[in-house]
């Protein structure tokens, strides 16, 4: 047997194919599955990025458990619960957006993306009010910490983690808003339909992870006792 290069699929290039198919893929399904693998790997890196913070929080909570308990009273669990509900709704509208794209229902796609963005913005607004409340109390991280009530020293570490973790999460929500807005603009132009909806699907995966991380952050900071 010889080892020459066998030409197998010249016809794949001869016929017209989907304009969204990149040249190095043979077919759309291969391209879609490839993107999906890439997205899941990216989400794995996100889990590990937050994972470091969760581990650090766990260790520090063990060392300063009394201080963490008293510090969490500075957080309003009602606002946290409101944000949890807002994000859960946004995950639902995101699922509906993916479904709308898969069924080529452009009107519903645009509507669901807009609702998701709306929820994300609501989350950030609530977060802004929470942060400004901390600002007035002097409960800021590190060098800006000026709180002078009881347990002032021991609660310091709690708020370092609070701002690092919710801050990093907030950055992810903001990034999600930017990406979703781009998708909304593209969707209005009719870029997505049942044969090509990869960006909607992948953004959906990302958005669910951002939601999921908040579902862990909420009890860790607001509900410990």
């Amino acid at each position: 047997m010889s080892s020459q290069v066998i030409t197998a699929d010249h016809e794949a290039h001869a016929h017209g194919h989907d304009p969204n198919l990149q040249h190095h893929f043979a077919e759309m399904e291969q391209q879609f599955e490839c993107s999906k693998i890439g997205m899941w790997l990216f989400l794995a890196t996100e889990v590990l990025l937050f994972g470091g913070l969760f581990v650090g929080y766990g260790l520090m909570q063990g060392q300063h458990s009394e201080a963490f308990k008293s510090a969490h009273h500075h957080l309003d669990w009602r606002l946290g619960a409101l944000n949890t509900i807002v994000l859960l709704i946004s995950s639902f509208t995101m699922v509906m957006a993916v479904w709308s794209a898969q069924t080529s229902n452009q009107k519903a796609l645009v509507r669901n993306l807009a609702l998701t963005i709306g929820c994300a913005c609501t989350f950030m607004v609530v977060k802004f009010f929470e942060y400004s409340h901390k600002y007035h109390e002097g409960l800021l991280p590190g060098a800006f910490y000026s709180y002078t009530g009881p347990h002032q020293n021991a609660e310091f570490v709690f708020f370092s983690f609070y701002f690092m973790m919710t801050g990093l999460h907030g950055i992810h929500v903001t990034a999600g808003i930017v990406v979703l807005t781009y998708l909304l603009i593209q969707a209005r132009k009719g870029a997505y339909n049942s044969s090509y909806f990869t960006p909607i699907d992948l953004t959906g995966l990302y958005w669910h992870l951002v939601d999921l991380i908040w579902i862990y952050l909420f009890p860790l900071f607001y509900l410990i006792s």
Partner: protein, 557 residues
């Protein structure tokens, strides 16, 4: 069966210019190179970048060795010395070794080996290169702004309190981590989805298995380094108190975070080296790989166990005795897959038709040097011995035997192996093998001396020392000159081959059986004419002893 491809190739040899354009000559403008998404061009750009940093950091190492020639202060004060060894380590680790094999050779070879047109995400690949460049510029800026004196490990609390642009350097590491993650994601997706028809997981070349295992570690470990660097920068800037014991934090936590990445990171560095050796040895022994599956699985198991051993860097940090004992046992486990690889390589060579060309010489050097480096790692994994050897030159020598004697030697061997495929031109075999011998001798003179002084208590990271260590330091410094000369000579021999006017290497100069040798040298932009289909295993030398394209090869059967 008649072989149309090779027939045309045979007539082409010696009759320049080639009939059609290749990836180097097609659309050969600066703009086209800077915006390319071709994995081959990006591989070459990475190769140029990492080799530049290799020579910069190598020159810093020569300066350090020169200062250590005598125990007194020669031309560097202690603060300068601290900065120079930090830069040597940080540049070598983050800008050279981690991207070296995957981003340079892996980018070039991996899609060719799979019979693919490109990696899964070509634009992400380009982004990865520019992210790398951004990180490199940040690191260089940190050097210009005064340098960093923390060592490449950035241990707190020193790193969060010392002066200098430590924050910028840590952010450079953070950014470089992204580049590494992008490469890793790309390779995993490529191996899963872009294999040629007929190529199952156990028909993959072992290079692919090694790079795949590496990519998994890159994806799973690097984010932890990222968050560690961010926390350290926040600690420096805002005193958030996560690593600072005075504010309620824990400096040992930093060490856990750092080594959770940085121990797997040494497997990011060594696995690709092993992957290259797994290609060179069968190609130059003309024998089917012995224990193919064992080598493939050992790569993945090294990647897995590598996540569980970070505590062996911290035996003296005050972690619990139980933790130390567990980490020591887990560390011994790494020796099993490493040993499996070594024995399988040796068994592959046994009764093979061994051809001692330059890549094979590097592979043999690797076997010797990696065996020494790996076995001394077991000494350091034993707690009682480690307490004695901790922070001595023994650790330095061990690390360099594995990283330089292992990865870098394999990398240079790989460059010699794939050079004719990359550029279509063959280097001077005789001079290249002489350079390999000089590197091998220089390396051993440099670092065997460091084992000796380390075992007698010479601490690492000191600019001065007791007079009784001077004889070893003199030996080590002389060795560094031999080593430096050998590396410059190897580079010169390779670069000299580029001045040839013709593509004289042939498509498959070594008679290898993996798919990248089935296209022309240098390959066309789309790698193959049409979609190649797998016809035989990667190390199946029985079917067709040596393809007819071997021109002037010493080995003929």
């Amino acid at each position: 069966m008649a072989n149309a491809t090779t027939t045309t190739t045979q007539t082409r040899i010696g009759t320049a210019p080639p009939p059609h354009l290749n990836y180097l000559t097609e659309n050969n403008t600066l703009k086209a190179w800077l915006t390319t998404v071709d994995h081959k061009r990006l591989g070459l750009m990475y190769l140029g970048a990492v080799m530049s940093f290799f020579f910069i950091a190598g020159a810093l190492a020569l300066l350090l060795r020169l200062e250590l020639l005598t125990p007194k202060q020669d031309f560097m004060d202690s603060a300068t010395y601290n900065k120079v060894f930090t830069l040597h380590g940080a540049i070598m680790v983050f800008l050279f070794i981690i991207p070296s094999v995957p981003a340079a050779l892996g980018n070039f070879v991996l899609p060719l080996m799979l019979g693919a047109k490109d990696v899964a995400f070509p634009r992400l690949n380009l982004a990865s290169f520019y992210v790398y460049c951004t990180g490199a510029v940040m690191a260089l800026a940190a050097i210009i702004l005064g340098g960093v004196d923390t060592g490449w490990t950035f241990y707190t609390p020193y790193s969060t309190t010392t002066d200098g642009p430590v924050g910028l350097m840590a952010m450079a590491v953070f950014v470089l981590g992204f580049s590494s993650i992008f490469t890793g994601i790309n390779f995993v997706a490529t191996v899963h989805k872009l294999r040629a028809p007929g190529m199952g997981w156990f028909q993959l070349p072992l290079f692919v298995w090694g790079i795949y295992a590496t990519a998994l570690i890159q994806v799973l470990a690097t984010p932890v380094l990222g968050i560690t660097a961010v926390l350290m920068v926040m600690e420096r800037a805002f005193h958030i108190g996560i690593f600072d014991a005075r504010l309620g934090g824990d400096p040992v936590l930093f060490q856990h975070f750092f080594w959770f990445y940085s121990h797997p990171a040494v497997y990011i560095m060594i696995l690709p080296g092993m992957a290259i050796i797994s290609e060179i040895i069968p190609a130059f022994s003309k024998k089917t790989m012995f224990g193919y599956r064992a080598i493939a699985f050992s790569s993945v198991s090294i990647a897995f166990i590598g996540f569980l051993v970070w505590g062996h860097h911290m035996f003296t940090s005050g972690q619990s005795d139980l933790a130390s004992a567990i980490f020591a046992f887990l560390t011994y486990l790494v020796a099993i897959p490493s040993g499996i690889k070594i024995w399988n390589w040796l068994a592959t060579m046994y009764q093979g038709s061994i051809d001692m060309r330059t890549p094979m010489l590097y592979a043999m050097s690797f076997l010797i040097l990696f065996a020494i480096g790996g076995l001394t790692g077991l000494y350091l994994g034993a707690i009682s011995v480690d307490i004695h050897l901790h922070d001595t030159y023994f650790v330095v020598a061990h690390f360099h035997y594995v990283m330089m004697g292992g990865t870098v030697i394999a990398f240079i061997g790989g460059i010699h192996y794939w050079w004719p495929k990359m550029f279509g031109k063959m280097y001077n075999e005789r001079l290249a093998s002489i350079a390999c011998w000089i590197v091998f001798i220089g390396f051993n003179v440099t670092f065997l001396n460091q084992f000796m002084m380390g075992s007698q208590g010479m601490p690492r990271r000191y600019w001065t020392y007791l007079p009784e260590f001077q004889k070893y330091h003199i030996g080590s410094t002389i060795g560094s000159w031999i080593l430096g000369f050998g590396l410059v000579m190897a580079a010169g021999v390779l670069l000299a081959s580029l001045r040839k006017k013709e593509y004289d290497a042939g498509d498959n100069p070594w008679g290898s059986r993996t798919m990248e040798w089935e296209t022309i040298s240098p390959p066309i932009t789309h790698n193959f004419e049409g979609q190649p289909v797998l016809r035989h295993g990667p190390y199946d030398f029985r079917v067709e002893p040596t393809p007819a394209t071997v021109a002037g090869g010493r080995h003929s059967g």
